[in-house]
């Protein structure tokens, strides 16, 4: 997909990534038949308030332009501040939000950053499967294991916990995993991380 097919959206989301994931899925659901090819979250750390922005890669320029126009014209269709939207060189919305949206779109388009929530085959990555199977059924191109310079063997089992969030690294969609009980791997990102001051 070319750069022109990615739309960035910045609603100023702060807080847990889980909330950003919900937001991303809600946007994607609204796209209907023009469903996004992939949807990512991006950390925006330049502004006064660190937050999370979203990006959507659309299957065609026509679809991307339609999304851009709808968001620029109607807003996201939910309460809250007007979002920033970016598409190619075009910007819409408050300056900071538009800049956040542009950052998200640029990272995704260049495939240098972004944590993928939706990606081709993401719906098929559930339960327990081998690394080989993971690479086969979805867009993840590589599995990296914390603390290990080598790739895991294709037969290694990955316990997905229904929460697989690969990220763009140097043009490839990479899933970072770590050793887990029983000689398995789990994705690095824990679905329900320990919140601060919640019984700990």
């Amino acid at each position: 997909m070319s750069e022109s097919h990615v739309v960035g959206v910045d609603t100023g989301h702060t807080g847990a990534l889980r909330g950003a994931d919900h937001l991303l899925r809600a946007f994607a659901a609204e796209l209907g038949p023009d469903a996004a090819v992939s949807g990512c979250t991006h950390h925006v750390r330049d502004g006064l308030r660190p937050h999370t922005a979203l990006s959507f890669a659309l299957p065609s320029e026509r679809a991307a332009r339609a999304l851009w126009q709808r968001l620029a014209r109607d807003g996201p269709g939910r309460s809250g501040d007007a979002p920033g939207v970016a598409f190619g060189d075009e910007r819409h919305g408050p300056g900071e939000s538009a800049a956040g949206a542009a950052l998200a779109a640029a990272e995704h388009a260049a495939r240098t950053g972004g944590r993928a929530v939706l990606y081709p085959g993401s719906g098929a990555v559930t339960g327990v499967l081998t690394v080989a199977r993971l690479l086969e059924v979805c867009a993840v191109e590589r599995v990296a294991v914390l603390g290990s310079p080598e790739a895991p063997s294709p037969e290694t089992l990955l316990v997905t916990r229904e929460h697989v969030r690969p990220e763009w690294r140097e043009g490839r969609l990479v899933l970072v995993a770590m050793p887990a009980a029983g000689g398995t791997l789990v994705p690095f990102e824990v679905p329900d991380p320990t919140p601060c001051c919640a019984d700990h």
């Binding site: 702060t14 847990a16 990534l17 950390h43 925006v44 750390r45 006064l48 308030r49 660190p50 937050h51 999370t52 914390l146 603390g147 290990s148 310079p149 970072v176 770590m178 050793p179 887990a180 009980a181 029983g182 789990v186 690095f188 990102e189 824990v190 991380p193 320990t194 601060c196 001051c197 919640a198 019984d199 700990h200």
Partner: protein, 569 residues
């Protein structure tokens, strides 16, 4: 060379003075003039622990590095009393009680447990919060004072767990005195990130953290309190403590009396990784977060997990901690319980009338009728210990020892004693200190290790398998304050320990020293190792990443010491 060591560490060289100072009394458990029969049950328990650990009575004096007329290792001195060395007091600066919204126990419960588990000093650190600033910080004080009276052989500090603006949590604690509550309360009200709504990682909030440390420094300077220390807790847990923030805290207050002096080398919650059948089945240390918008962009995924139970900043040879040490300025590590709710305990939070926000505390715990395996904490002293070389048994001496970096830490009772001395040119220095020698002087590190003298709290005698000497060059202050690696730090030498009891002496020849360097120690039971994150040439057998949901902390034990610098001129 740009470092400032001469002044900060110069006083460590006068170990022979042997003055008694203010430390008039020794805890009865340490004092062999007090017969066993005269001890209370707690004191007797403490003494038997010391005895098993080889900390009491005849010890290592004969084989000491200091046999040639210098001091005797602290743990070797007959009667438990140092003659010319230090009293190594075990402690924990990160402990919660019913005055934390996520806590449970009475202060007395935690102090009783800490004392029984072998601690000499403890810091009560309930979370900074609206309720704590308004109510808890006052209400906890009578409980702490009562515990001081009840457990007179345990030093109990009042502190708080500061929500560092723009960053993680940190222990702030004061020397006991008339204004201990007033200072803590004002600090919490004015500088706590949660109370002030200043948790986001913004420059303004980072500045508020520095202002808080300046405030604390001013309280000491004006003699409102005798002393204050700050130590950052679980620093890499969420990627919130950026390298430049850590450096800013370190440099916020005068080098002559620094307030922020270190971070947890190993976090608490060490039981979090115990397998699901018997425990939480999550991450050791409850290190299970991933990057957020507030985290420092330069931290890799590896930094969010523990390595042999230690925080990535400490566990990575050539990593962030070494980058701080390479600057030639003090920054120390500790290890604590972060005890909130203890694994396999049977008490539950009191209720149902418990209203934390109204009362500033939970009601007293009650018996829950079953063993709770859904918690990840240990009692203070049960698993993690911070050993501080103290010039006597007093609050001031422990704080001085921490500020001076005379600290080593272990997990699971891996060691009973550690005495490290770097010697050359007729002088020597120990942990946290600096040896000043003429360029070209031959320098030797000698380490006496007291192996575990008895069973730990899991019921077995831990065995030390290997000790590593980590060495790095002192390259002076960094221009990029977000530097997080030290290119020259590496494991310089490893020693296999083929002995299961008694003591071990290691000697490491630094050669004719021609440039400023530092050395630090690390050791392991040898159960789990992996090539270090900066490669085999740097660390061929470092700690492995802790397995998610299957990390029994008793089967992967490490110790770490703070550094000693060698500064030729």
């Amino acid at each position: 060379m740009g470092h400032t060591h001469g002044h900060e560490h110069g006083h460590h060289h006068h170990h022979e003075h042997g003055h008694e100072g203010a430390d008039t009394t020794l805890p009865a458990a340490f004092d062999t003039a007090v017969p066993d029969e005269a001890l209370t049950p707690e004191q007797r328990s403490r003494r038997s622990l010391l005895r098993r650990a080889g900390l009491l009575g005849a010890g290592l004096a004969a084989g000491s590095v200091l046999a040639q007329g210098a001091a005797t290792p602290a743990y070797a001195s007959t009667g438990g009393r140092r003659k010319n060395g230090y009293l190594w007091l075990a402690g924990d600066h990160h402990i919660h009680t019913q005055y934390s919204s996520d806590g449970k126990y009475r202060v007395g419960d935690q102090v009783r447990q800490g004392a029984a588990h072998g601690l000499d000093w403890m810091v009560i650190t309930d979370h900074g919060s609206d309720a704590h600033a308004r109510i808890g910080v006052d209400k906890v004080n009578p409980d702490i004072r009562e515990a001081r009276d009840t457990y007179e052989d345990t030093l109990v500090f009042q502190g708080l767990e500061w929500n560092i603006p723009a960053a993680e949590h940190g222990t702030v604690f004061v020397h006991p005195g008339r204004n201990e509550v007033a200072v803590l309360k004002q600090f919490e009200t004015d500088y706590d990130g949660s109370v002030k709504g200043a948790t986001d990682s913004t420059p303004a909030n980072e500045a508020l953290a520095v202002a808080g440390l300046t405030f604390l420094s001013e309280q000491v300077r004006s003699r409102r309190v005798k002393d204050v220390l700050m130590l950052a807790n679980h620093p890499a847990r969420k990627g919130l403590d950026s390298p430049h923030e850590i450096r800013a805290w370190r440099d916020a207050t005068p080098a002559s009396h620094q307030i922020a002096v270190g971070f947890e080398g190993a976090p608490g919650h060490q039981a979090g990784g115990i397998e699901k059948t018997y425990g939480m089945g999550v991450a050791r240390g409850l290190y299970d977060n991933s990057p957020s918008a507030n985290s420092f962009a330069g931290y890799p995924p590896e930094s969010y997990r523990t390595w042999g139970g230690f925080d990535w900043m400490t566990a990575t040879v050539g990593g962030l901690w070494d980058s701080l040490l390479a600057e030639g300025r003090p920054w120390w590590i500790t290890a604590n319980s972060d005890s909130h709710q203890v694994y396999t305990d049977t008490a539950v939070r009191g209720g149902p009338d418990s209203d934390f926000n109204l009362n500033g505390r939970h009601t007293d715990p009650v018996y829950g009728g079953k063993i709770d395996t859904t918690q990840g904490d240990y009692w203070p002293g049960q698993y993690s210990r911070t050993h501080v070389g103290s010039d006597g048994f007093s609050y001031a001496a422990v704080m001085d020892g921490i500020r001076a970096g005379r600290i080593w830490v272990d997990h699971g009772g891996l060691l009973s004693g550690l005495d490290a001395r770097v010697a050359g040119g007729g002088r020597w220095a120990t942990l946290g200190g600096a040896l000043h020698v003429r360029k070209g002087t031959r320098v030797t590190l000698t380490v006496d290790l007291g192996l575990a003298g008895g069973a730990n709290w899991a019921g077995f005698v831990p065995k030390l398998a290997r000790v590593d000497v980590v060495q790095g060059d002192v390259t002076g202050p960094v221009s990029d304050r977000d530097t997080l690696s030290a290119p020259t730090a590496r494991v310089a030498k490893s020693y296999e320990v083929n002995k299961s009891s008694g003591t071990v002496r290691l000697t490491y020849d630094l050669g004719a020293v021609d440039r400023p360097v530092y050395v630090r120690l690390r050791g392991t039971d040898g159960n789990r190792s992996a090539v270090g994150l900066r490669g085999a040439a740097v660390d061929p057998a470092g700690p492995a990443v802790d397995v998610l949901g299957d990390a029994d902390p008793w089967k992967d034990l490490w110790f770490y010491s703070n550094p000693v610098w060698v500064l030729p001129s």
